[in-house]
Subunit: 423 residues, 4 copies
């Protein structure tokens, strides 16, 4: 049979659905009235209770769900969440485990850290903890922020290639005024680079901002908007249309652009593990880790990853959720380059993540439990976002060390079986 | 100056750090003793309290952080979390907003749904809600699961290309026995495809499983491990080394492989919005949305996305966290293809996501608040995971509709400014 | 200055052009009459002479260009080229160098080969020759075809996702008849796989053919066309539109699809170089080559190659041109995976190219000089295309060995300076 | 059967070979002596004849191959080729067809051009000719060079991240001296940008040069080599190792880097085709072309192209071979972005190619027949390389127009059948 078996199996399951009586009608639009549902922009105990009543009226509130999500503590603090969500109906409780001490010897971060990870995946915290122990026993992880800048990429559409070129020429000559317009909207954002990209009659301006201690995605949107308005007002070559974001910046997407040039902060972290640590903490040996590292690198290449790494996403999702970062940024942050190489004094392991988006102010960082979790780190004030980015990269390195060790020793399956199944 | 300005700015900030007294030493490994920290594999009120005591001893427990994370409710239910985390110290509370009603007219999902989204990003719930309203007013979103199968990709290393080839030849002839070995480990997993990939002396076996109502990542690891052991035991061509995962499967990574062939469930969702809905609900018009759609497609291409979409990650992270899915899978799920095209009766909008990883059992789905949030959907039992995947894709479509509309009308910046800043 | 310097330099050069008198008009369409030019579908001495006369009338035939391109030999054999080109005005003479002996120990190719390379780039033949010598002195290159199949990917557009699904279901059940329709058009082509890919209402059918001793691009187009016509005629779910190629097959393009699944022939080639050969022939040492190999692998990753290799394209372009293959296929063939690893007995070097498109019949293979060049290889008849693909991969491996050696020893620049400049 | 059919078919063909008597030995290295073969660095009638004698002695010179490749004209001009090839044994004759007149209304190129294309693929010249006619009848193609710069990317390996950072800091402060060292090696090359990229202890310097009228690949290698030597000599932070090219520049490879930032020249070309031209010349209509354009764009995305285009490689290979460019650069040049959109006055069609590598001096441009073919264009002297790049892009646009039209009208298969088979 020349059709792949998984296609056949799929069709077996859904064939009946394709031809089932009424199916054709059911997949078509249905104009039946839908129950109206009135949301609540701000959150309060009353608004939450009101939304649950509406859900209950529509038969959506089942069992104890209301009391579990809208527990007394959440209701008591409801207003706290008003700036972070709409239509609030409660909170979901994500368990937090701790990894540490993790020694970080960074350009910005320096010390032994305990890191909070919010996850529901068994074995994750244990695995990162093992990597952290190995790294710390080896003297700690060297880190440095290498690059910084959050991108926005407004787009301008012209009637012709010639006018697109003239617009770019004008922008370049007026760039100081444009920068001033952008920076007037923000106390902390600075426009550090502006690069025009032309595709015939469409111009994208890659605007790269530093954003102080915030991740800064809203800040750069507002600043870019001001820049665009000034450009469109003042430039004699008028665009037919313009947009504050032309879907070029890589915001919440894995892209070649982000992988190559960075977005947010680009951070490298490395440690050299002595043979003794590899044997005692990781229960494998350097050659075995190198052997697996080669295969994992080949697998990454053959499968067409951006970069080559094993599971940064596990660390990032858990750390971002615990510390009030934007978890959607995992999509762009979980990209990078893990290297392991033999050195005279052991196994050199490094990670480089070009797109770490973290802040110590803004977003969800001030919410009560997120702030409490973050307080374990003791990172506040000037330079804290850079330090937090370095700690994030160091954490990712711990996970890479641990999984490479587990794979090389054949422990991967058994660890997951034990921690996830037999409790 | 031929060096880019953002590099110069970066160096200005860090130059002093490079040469600061003691910096060289500080970035080197430090053999000072670190405080031991004894973890706790299972969770209980006692274990949590014990860990906080240890943190406090090390000066890491600041302010009220313990009482906020380890609140009475969390302590009372601590054992519930034992199978999902290690070293548990409490829970982080992520606010949940509701979007709906969202009418889904799917091959598996059928009805008007209210969806819980856990996020700390202002405007997100409001934006998806607006898209849901537009879609529902247009008769609802058609959806279908197109493809199913979670991949594992064990790797086998041989001494030569010839023996790699002989191994593949043996595997193919013995595939029924190997499948039986894999399926013996699981009540719900079925091996539906096995494809060998050779790079000289290294063989990867792409094993594709259906996993019932679970996302199934652990299930397929255990089944693949059994398959590998049987192959290695029985095949006369012995590998030098083998690994249950050769970093080829795309697990928690955006890859070409996942984008092309799918991992988890591949789902398409579409709706045609009448002009009237575009004007009244989205406050823009079809031509304006098409104009922006073209620019956004170009931006996606030029920036080198896998696929072309705007912000699936926002929906996925918020919905995965709220419903107990693995949030790290956002890294692979947030990839796909958004299309908008003019049709006779309005604006056709579709999304196709090849890598949705969701389940209604397993992972974090049974935790109290995650289960409560998921119960809004009313999806349980046979077929519920497929239906949940379809609802996930429909939600992503709402977000694409909303952001394209906002960009086309110039509302994007003002919406974020209003919802995030002025409360 | 926050704008990159190369943009500023560019604008300096072209700014005057943007505003120059008449420039705006000159870049606009110009309706002035153009001189008619009547082409010639077939080639003969008369047709060639006629075209030159027309060119001369339009002032395009400068100096001795006619006599150089339309030399007596070319004119005498003009008809020979009729099936390969239109509007023929002569031949361009590309110099051919020879590399060899190259010992190939392959699944299909076996022997010591001399390979013709057509290039105008100094140092290319010398570099490949050095790699061939090292490989041959090491006992020769092991090769194997791993995968075979030329893809066509017709596309079918439906009114709805549901009908797209029904079409796929029908295709799968009728696939034997569809295969028969496709294979009825060809003596050598066989449809070995058909995989449907759905994006909402659009269906692509990935049709994979073996093509005997031909590269087979036309053969598969014609066979696919027949398959499509039968499907469209017979299937009750009618497409709104269909196309014989939906731009999905990777034909003459580097794509993820080709990199992952192969197109044409996928071939691996490897050799283990003893330390002595590395020192005497390549004048470097194994550690130095490994050191550079690691950097080159990192560079490939960071720059976002498909695969990781140094310069397959040099070998492929030169060998394809010399032997009458389709040189445009360099775009898809020049992708793959070079590995170098230390082994007990030396330096293991391998290449895997998933998209080699070569044939010993069809295309330009029968033209006089192309056939003469190919005759050096002695590859004709059944199995010769597979053997030719193996020889192609072996040649690419020679180039990788040579460039890694040159880079590792710091000879790269001096070799090019010497061969290209000082003659 | 859960194994794909094409794998089974492949194994059927090669299984016997895997186990055939002596096969294991045959695929192993073979230490039998190989016939020595003495090359010839420079070319002359005598050297060519000598090489043929050697080939004949080894049984490689079959039939009339010598007289066809080493024809009297080639022998008479043998010395001409000395700077372009080693081990020369003759020339391969590639038929050249002409396309034109093609009206180009460019920033640099301006006029009605006749273009030489060297190819052995039937229908190629006819197809581009049809596109050229449609474009010319529409008033011609607007073109502009948007970006310029050939990259080299030397790599420096340090013992630590800290020293890598210090090296970068030093380079940036000394960049004027480094530029002077680079530019001292060349009359035409200018270093217009230098961007450091760090991955932990490895530093790549992206050096972007303008190269006058040459494609410039050797020029930038030599200049970069000088830059590196000065940096390594003068900088206090010494690298452990350095390489003039870290495989990051995208030289002869399709990469994300090249696609995003350009290498060589980035050129856009566009034309708006009136409905009448679409109907009369292309025998289809605008809606049909737009319909296919959408499918082709989707196919490009789904298959994971860099960019989205149909067959630039056909134009590029044929034009590069005919005009003495480096045909291996097709691998990097055949990447880009084709757009087709409805405008009030017809169908807007554009291409943007970020990596066109052409010159009017250097490489093979001065060889007799290549120079003769190029002379049709009349492009010489200052600005000619930019004009040639614009003409190249315009040619690619002609091919895109023609293939989209053919596909939309269902002519694609029949055109190939007619031109390739029935002569």
């Amino acid at each position: 049979m020349i059709v792949p078996n998984h296609v056949l199996e799929m069709l077996k399951r859904v064939r009946a659905l394709y031809y089932q009586d009424g199916r054709e009608t059911r997949m078509l639009p249905d104009d039946a009235a839908h129950s109206p549902f009135r949301g609540a922009q701000s959150a309060s105990a009353a608004s939450i209770t009101g939304l649950w009543e509406a859900l209950r009226n529509q038969g959506k509130a089942r069992g104890r769900s209301q009391s579990i999500l809208a527990d007394p503590e959440t209701l008591a603090n409801a207003e706290t969440y008003s700036g972070n969500i709409e239509n609030m109906i409660g909170t979901v409780k994500v368990p937090v485990g701790v990894v540490g001490p993790l020694r970080v010897r960074g350009l910005h971060a320096d010390g032994d850290f305990h890191l909070p990870l919010a996850t529901t995946e068994a074995a994750l915290v244990a695995s990162y903890g093992r990597g952290a122990l190995a790294a710390t026993r080896s003297g700690g992880i060297s880190t440095a922020v290498l690059y910084e800048g959050v991108l926005r990429s407004p787009a301008f559409v012209f009637d012709s290639l010639l006018n697109a070129g003239r617009f770019v020429d004008w922008v370049v000559t007026q760039v100081d005024d444009l920068r001033a317009a952008a920076e007037a909207t923000t106390a902390h954002g600075r426009l550090v680079s502006l690069e025009p990209i032309i595709d015939n009659n469409v111009v994208f301006l890659l605007c790269r901002f530093t954003t102080g201690e915030a991740a800064g995605q809203n800040m750069v949107t507002i600043a870019t908007d001001a820049l665009c308005r000034k450009a469109v007002d003042d430039c004699p070559a008028k665009p037919l249309r313009w947009y504050v974001e032309g879907n070029f910046s890589g915001d919440k997407k894995a892209t070649s652009l982000g992988t190559l040039t960075g977005r947010g902060r680009k951070v490298s972290a490395s440690v050299t593990l002595p043979e003794q640590v590899v044997q005692k903490v990781l229960r494998t040996d350097i050659d075995a880790m190198l052997d697996y590292g080669r295969v994992a690198g080949l697998g990454a290449l053959l499968s067409g990853q951006f970069g080559a790494q094993a599971h940064y996403a596990n660390a990032l999702a858990a750390f971002y959720i615990a510390t009030g970062q934007d978890a959607a940024c995992v999509a762009e942050s979980a990209v990078g380059f893990t290297r392991i190489e033999r050195r005279e004094d052991g196994l050199f392991c490094s990670v480089t993540l070009p797109n770490i988006l973290v802040g110590t102010v803004g977003g969800g960082t001030a919410l009560p439990s997120q702030r409490a979790a973050r307080s374990l780190l003791g990172l506040e004030g000037p330079g804290s976002a850079a330090a937090l980015a370095e700690v994030t990269a160091a954490l990712c390195l711990c996970g890479e060390i641990s999984i490479v060790a587990a794979m090389s020793a054949g422990h991967f399956t058994s660890a997951h079986r034990k921690l996830a199944r037999t409790r």
